[in-house]
Each structure stands twice: as structure tokens, then as C-alpha cells.
Symmetry: C2
């Protein structure tokens, strides 16, 4: 089957996005078991041998991506790295045929925005202060930020293609005019967004309902609600616009 014959299935795309919600929440709950631990995010204070300038967070994220790159992670369209100059893959990865019409997935790399937003989120989900557990904190940061990035890039790519196919004439016109604002407006479905945000807040409660609060720090649903409303959904739409503007005909 050639790529062009694969059609996006909006039901399956929505299901996949929904499944990723639980992963994101679980990862953030894991991170929240440690204090904010500010020094882990400060440049020049990693105390990492041979690396005096970067923060421990940035060093860990780069090490992780250097490993992941060798295992072929960034062949997947929705896996866009935070770092440049990563080593080549050492595995042959056979990806399933894709419906995406894009020459270069890297044109939709929102990792800079995601990194900034994530660093603002940390003090909202974690208890303030310092427990000295910098290594564990950045380890969990990396898993959480990778899950968030996967959600955003997956949505940007597949939702955009599926919306394009459902209203090809209209999008073709706006793409020709390079009218990013208008495309953004057309992509917006406030009812769907509200449903996602409410569902995510419910999940945060449900997933922590039986947690022993004496031993585990619980994160407030509002923090994840805002993450979705103010970061994940807008960045996904920003990525959708980029996808459409770069879509090959």
C-alpha cells in the first residue's frame, strides 16, 4: 500500500490522543513526588563533569535524546526532538504507511515552546523547596516532557491532515493565501476543546482518587486543565497551521 492510499481515521486519532492523556498525567504525578528543586534548572549549577554551562535538566534531556536517536525514535513523525545534532539511528525502523503529506517532519517542531511551558508547569505541580533529588527530578521531567511533546506533534500532524480532507476546498484556498490566522480560526472547535479539557481534569481526580495522601503528593486538576487549555491545545493548533502551510499537494 503506498502512503497516498492511507486515509486518516479521525476516530482512531482521537482515541490515540485520549490514551496519551493518561500517560501525560501519570508522568506528571511521578514528577510531583519530588520538590521543585530549582537548582536542577539553573545553568552553571549542574556540577556535571565536562559540562559547566547547561542545567542538569538540559543535560539529561540531551543524553536521553542521544540514546533515543540511536534507537530510531525520531523516525516517527510525532517524535520531534528538543535537541539538534543528534546521532544517527543504529536500527532499521520500519514504520507503518502514513497518511501525512509532508516532506520534512521537522518543519513542525514545537519543542522550544513546549520546553518553556513545561518549565513553568513544574512549580505548579510540585511542592516548593528542595529535597536534593535532582537526578530523579530531571529523569521524570524528561519522561513527562516527551509525553507532552508526543501528544502535541501527533495531534498537529494527524488532526490537520484529517481536517484538510474533510474540507479540502476551503483549506486549499486559505493555504494558497498563506492566511495562517484564518486557518487557525477554521481549525478551532471550541466544543471539542472544552470536552477534552473537562475530561482531562476528571482523569486527574480519578487517577488519584485512591492515592494515599500521606505518602504521595497529589496534583490539583486545575494545573493539568490549564496545561491542556493554555499550552497543549493551542500548540497543537499552531502545529496544525504549520502542517497545512507545508502540506505537499
Amino acid at each position: 500500500m503506498s502512503d497516498s492510499e492511507v486515509k486518516p481515521d479521525l476516530g482512531r486519532i482521537a482515541q490515540h490522543l485520549e490514551a496519551l492523556e493518561e500517560t501525560i498525567i501519570a508522568r506528571l504525578i511521578d514528577r510531583a513526588q519530588f520538590r521543585v528543586n530549582e537548582p536542577a534548572y539553573e545553568s552553571h549549577s549542574s556540577n556535571f563533569e565536562g559540562n559547566p554551562h547547561e542545567s542538569l535538566f538540559d543535560i539529561r534531556l540531551r543524553f536521553q535524546e542521544e540514546m533515543d536517536a540511536q534507537f530510531g525514535r525520531f523516525h516517527a513523525p510525532e517524535e520531534r526532538p528538543f535537541n539538534k545534532k543528534l546521532p544517527p539511528s543504529r536500527r532499521k525502523v520500519s514504520l507503518p504507511a502514513t497518511c501525512l503529506q509532508l516532506e520534512n517532519y521537522e518543519v513542525i517542531n514545537l519543542s522550544g515552546d513546549i520546553r518553556d511551558a513545561y518549565l513553568q508547569l513544574v512549580p505548579e505541580i510540585c511542592k516548593s523547596g528542595d529535597d536534593g533529588q535532582y537526578g530523579s527530578s530531571v529523569e521524570h521531567d524528561v519522561y513527562a516532557i516527551q509525553a507532552i511533546a508526543r501528544r502535541i506533534h501527533y495531534g498537529a500532524l494527524y488532526v490537520a491532515e484529517s481536517k484538510f480532507l474533510r474540507d479540502t476546498m476551503m483549506y486549499r484556498k486559505l493555504i494558497k493565501q498563506k492566511d495562517a490566522d484564518q486557518i487557525y480560526q477554521k481549525l478551532t472547535r471550541s466544543d471539542v476543546e472544552k470536552r477534552i479539557v473537562d475530561r482531562v481534569a476528571d482523569k486527574v481526580d480519578q487517577m488519584q482518587a485512591f492515592t494515599n495522601k500521606q505518602i504521595r503528593h497529589v496534583i490539583p486538576p486545575e494545573t493539568i486543565l490549564s496545561l491542556y487549555r493554555d499550552v497543549i491545545i493551542p500548540l497543537t493548533k499552531k502545529g496544525e497551521v504549520l502542517y497545512l502551510l507545508h502540506r505537499k499537494e
Copy 2:
């Protein structure tokens, strides 16, 4: 405060072990979203450049530990690696004072047993068959097996020391006689073990109660119940015996 002045707090140790249960379950649920994917565990079929003999699982576990070692993970008593010959730490890690009376934490490294038991668990929690997602599968394997190993080694070290202090005379006698079987019997608390196993099975249900079963694969509580009853608890006790036999006076 010198190490010898720190006393183990059995309440806090039990709380930490309980908190680790949720991490283990969450990691296994993540892994179970992929098929068994047998080729990822077969030697000679990783297709990993420069590494024709190991399985993809073993290669990923080694890469992860080589990274973790540089970040100082294995300075922590309960973090015992699966691999030998890991690179030295590139961070100064300042660990909190410990109550443990042990020259070398590596004498309590049960990772061989843990690896074998984990590989038997995979086909019990995952749907059979092959979805081609070998890279993601072994990524989640590594997170799950690290969480299980941390639980076992933490319990082995800290529970043993705290039991020793509560019945020093008796344990001293058995240690002198090097009577491993008798120590194992004395360490066994069937009522506590039953409570742990039941609680874990309940948690598996609770953590998946709101899961949309159309889109996420649910793991049966019995699989994790058996993991605790037949693997985690016995290996923890095996580690406790080793701790006591190597405890410095």
C-alpha cells in the same frame, strides 16, 4: 550526623514501599499498551548496528544504565544495576546519611533474578502477537524493570536493618551460625505479605477503573498479585538474608 546515628523508621520504610507499588503498576500498564513483541527479546535479532548478538531489550537496558551511571544513579543503595562495567558518575551526588551497615551495596544485587522474572511476566500482561513497536516496548520494559528492582533492593536493605534492630540478639546468633534458611524463616511475616498482595491487586483495579477499555489494554490484577507473591516478596527476603549475612558489626 554520622551514619551510625541514623535509625531506620519502619513506618517511613513501609510508606516508601507502598508508594513504589503505584509506580510499578503504572509502568507495567504502560508496557501493556504494546504487544508481546517477541523479537525484541531474542538474541541476534535486534538489527542494531554494531551489536549483532544482544537482544534489543538488553541493548536498551545497557544504554539506559550507561546514561544513568553518568548521572550518579547507582550511588543510591537501592539502585543496583543490571549491567557490569558501567561508566563512572559525572556528578557529585550528596546522599542523605543512611542507617545501613554495609561495606558494599553490590553484595545485594538481585538483578539477574529480577531480569528472568520480568521476561516471564511480559507475555502475561501484554496481548500476544507483534505490532512492530519494538523500540517503544523495550523503552517501557526498562522503566518497569528499574521500578521493580528499586522496590526489591530498597526493601531488602532497609527492612532487614530495621528487623535486625528490633531483634538484635536473635539475628546476631543466626548470622554467626550463617544459617540462611533460619534467617529467611524469621524474616517472614505472612500476615504482612498477605496484606501487601491484596492491596496491590486492589490498586491494579482502582488505577484502571476509569480506563476506556476500547483504547487501552487493561492488565489483570492476578498478574501483579503473582508478581508480588512469587517474585517481589521472595526476592526482597532473599536480599534481606544477604544483607544480614554481610552486615558489618
